[in-house]
Symmetry: C2
Subunit: 419 residues, 2 copies
Amino acid sequence: MVKVGIIGVGTVGTSVAQILKDNADVISARAGVEIVVKSGVVKNLKKERGLDIIITDKVDEVLSDPEIDIVVELMGGVDEAFEVVKKALSNSKAVVTANKALLAYHRYELQEMAKDTAFLYEAAVAGGIPIINALRDGLSANHIESIMGIMNGTCNYMMTEMVNNGVAYETILKVAQDLGYAEADPEFDVGGFDAAHKLLILASIAYGIDAKPEDILIEGIQDVSSEDVAFAKEFGYAIKLLTIAKKDGSEVELRVHACLISKDEMIAKIDGVMNGISVVGDKVGETLYYGAGAGGDATASAVIADIISIARSGKSAPMLGFDKPMEGKLTLKPSANIESKYYLRINVNDKAGVLAKITKVFETHEISIKTLLQKSTSPSTANLLMSTHIAKESDIQAMMTEIEGLDFVNFKPVMIRIV
Amino acid sequence: MVKVGIIGVGTVGTSVAQILKDNADVISARAGVEIVVKSGVVKNLKKERGLDIIITDKVDEVLSDPEIDIVVELMGGVDEAFEVVKKALSNSKAVVTANKALLAYHRYELQEMAKDTAFLYEAAVAGGIPIINALRDGLSANHIESIMGIMNGTCNYMMTEMVNNGVAYETILKVAQDLGYAEADPEFDVGGFDAAHKLLILASIAYGIDAKPEDILIEGIQDVSSEDVAFAKEFGYAIKLLTIAKKDGSEVELRVHACLISKDEMIAKIDGVMNGISVVGDKVGETLYYGAGAGGDATASAVIADIISIARSGKSAPMLGFDKPMEGKLTLKPSANIESKYYLRINVNDKAGVLAKITKVFETHEISIKTLLQKSTSPSTANLLMSTHIAKESDIQAMMTEIEGLDFVNFKPVMIRIV
C-alpha cells in the first residue's frame, strides 16, 4: 500500500482524495498497488470537506509521518511551498506538485535536491493534458523547434467570446469573474503571468533553459479592443494569448503575449476555456495536445497520474497499462448490439408509392426517420438520403437486407453511421 | 553506450539510424548515455542505404549478438515478426517495435514474455503522436469513457479532399496512390484494417480488452460517394474514418467505420494526412492528441523515444528532461531581438497630412507596412489599423514611443504581434 499526504486540501486536493477513492479499482490495477490518502493539511480546520482522511493544520505532522510515501503539494505560492517541498525531500518523501509558480522560480534547485527521489509535476502545466510527459518522453528524439501554447483558459475564454461573439472586453471579464474563471484581481491571468510560469517549465524540458519570469517578455490581453477584433476578422485571424518558445540558432525566444494567428492553424481552433499546446519537433513535425487546463478533477487527474508513476516504484508502466486485471473486468460488446444514429442512401425507381413502401419497412423494424432528402439521379430514378434517430445495429442490418430485396430498389443501400 | 540492432532497414529503419546520428547531442543529453545503431538486417544486401552500420541479411547475427542491447523490429507482418521478437526476448534483449499487426494479434502473449525486460511500441499507433504514453501514463487516474481516433492518414486525406474540395472517390484514390499515401492494393487502408489494428492496441491499454481484428466491426470508406458528401455538407457534418472504443456499463464497443460527425467537434477539424485521437476520461474530460501518423521521420521519432526510455535503464525521465546539459547549450534570446509581424492600432486626429507623417515614422525605423485600414472613431478622429512585414521588437518599440509623442496621436498606440 502506498500512502499519500496532501498539503493544501482545497478544490484540487479534495478531487485528488475523492478520485483515488472513486476510481480505486482502475488505479490499483494500473499501479499494481493500493494507493490511499492518509492525511491532509489545511489552514481552516473548521471547514467540512467530506473526506475520510486525517485533517490537520500542522504541516510537520504530514512531512514527518514515517508512513507517508508521497507528499502532494497543493498549497500554491512560492516561498512557503518551497520550504515545505524541501523538507519533504529531505525526509525522503517523493513529491508531486501542481505548483507552477514554485517551479517557475525554483525548478533547477528542486531537480538538484530530488536527484535520489521522485519529483513529478504534470499538473503544473495545462492541468489534465499530459504535456510534460509528451515533451519529456514522447518527443525526446527531437530538437524542439517551437512550442505555441494556449495555457490560460480564462484568457482563451475571453478572447473566444470577443472574437466569435463580439462581446466587449470589460463585459466578458465581468462574466468570467461571475463564472469563477477569473479572480476578483484578474491581473495574474489576463496579464499573462500564469501562462508565463507554465512556459518556463516547458522551456526547461525542451531546451534546458533556466530563465525566470523577470527574464522574458510577458504581456497580457488587457489592451485588445473591439477594433482589433474587427481587424482580425477582416483578415482571417483569431486572437489568442499565446505562450511561445522558439529556437533560433543557438538562442531561444520565450514570450507570452496576445497574438493574431491565422484561423487555419490547429492552435487557433482551440476555443473557450480549453487549453492546447502545439509542439514542433525537427523530426516529428507538429504535434498538438488539447484538453482542460484547469478545474479540480482535470488537475487531479494529472496529480494522480504522477502518484501512480511513483507507486509503480520507479518502474515504467506495464506494457499494456494494467499490472493486474481490473476488478469487474470489461467484456467486448457484440457488434450487433451497437447503437448509433445512421445515414442511409437508397437508390429507387422514382414512381408512385415507393416512399410509402420504404417508410413502411422502417416502421416494421421500429427505426425512426429523422431527416429525408429525395434527389433525382435520372429521369426515372432517385436517391433517398435519410438519417435516423438512435437505432440498433442488428435492426439496421436486418432492415437494409429487406430494403435491398425490394424490386424497385437499385443497388445495395449505403449506410454511414453518425457519431 | 547502448547498442541497437534494427530488423528491417526500410524507410523507418533508415530514419531511426539517421536521427540517432543527426540528433545525437540532444538524445545523449536526455538519455544520459550514448545510443548507437550497430547493425541492421535487410532482405536485399545490394541496395545502398547510406548508413555507416553493419548490414546483414541474417537476422540471427543481430539477435545473437551479445553487444546488442535493444532490438528494433521494423520488418512488419505477423508470423515472422513474432518469431523474431520472441527470440530477441529470450536472448534478453529489450524490444522496440512499430508493428501494429503483430500487436493486434499477439500483444498479450508478448506482455507475458516481456515480463522481465522492456517491450515498447509507441510507434505502432499514430506514428509520431505519443498516444500510448498519454493513455498508459498520463490518463491513468481515469476510467476511459471513449476513444475516437483518426488513425489512418490515407483515408483522412481522401475524405478531406472529397468533402472540402468535392473530388470523387476514384479520382482521389488515384491521387493518393500517386502521392505514395495509398498502396497499389489500397484495401488494407481504405478497408479500415490498418486503423483497426491500432484501435485494438489502445483498447487493451484503456480497458484491458483482449480482442482480435476478427472480433470487431471493421468497415472502410469505399462506399462513400459524392451524394453522401452533399448530404454531409447540407447538415454540417464532416466524414471521417473513425476508430471508436466506447464503454457502456460493463461492455466495451470497438468499431472502425466511416462516420458523419459534426464539424464543431475537435476531431472533425483534423484534415489531410494528419492523425488525431480524442480520449474522454471520467475525470479529465476530453483530451486530444494530433500529429503525423506516418512517414519515416515521424515514426522514427516514436521508435527513438522508446529507445531513449530503455536506455535510461528503466528509470523515469530526469525531472526536467535532461540528464546532463546539452552540448552547445542554448541561451535565452534578449526580448529586444525578437522578430515578428505586428498589428498596430493608432488613434489620430483626422486631418490632412497625418497619414504622411505616420508613414514617414515607419520609414525612419525601416518598418515596412503590409496592410492599412483607416476607420473613423468620431467626426474628428480615426483609428489607423496597420499590419507590418517582419520587424524587430526593439525597432517597433522605438517607433511606438516616437508615434506616441506626436501631437496628433491620441492615446498610447496598441500593438499585437502576428504569428
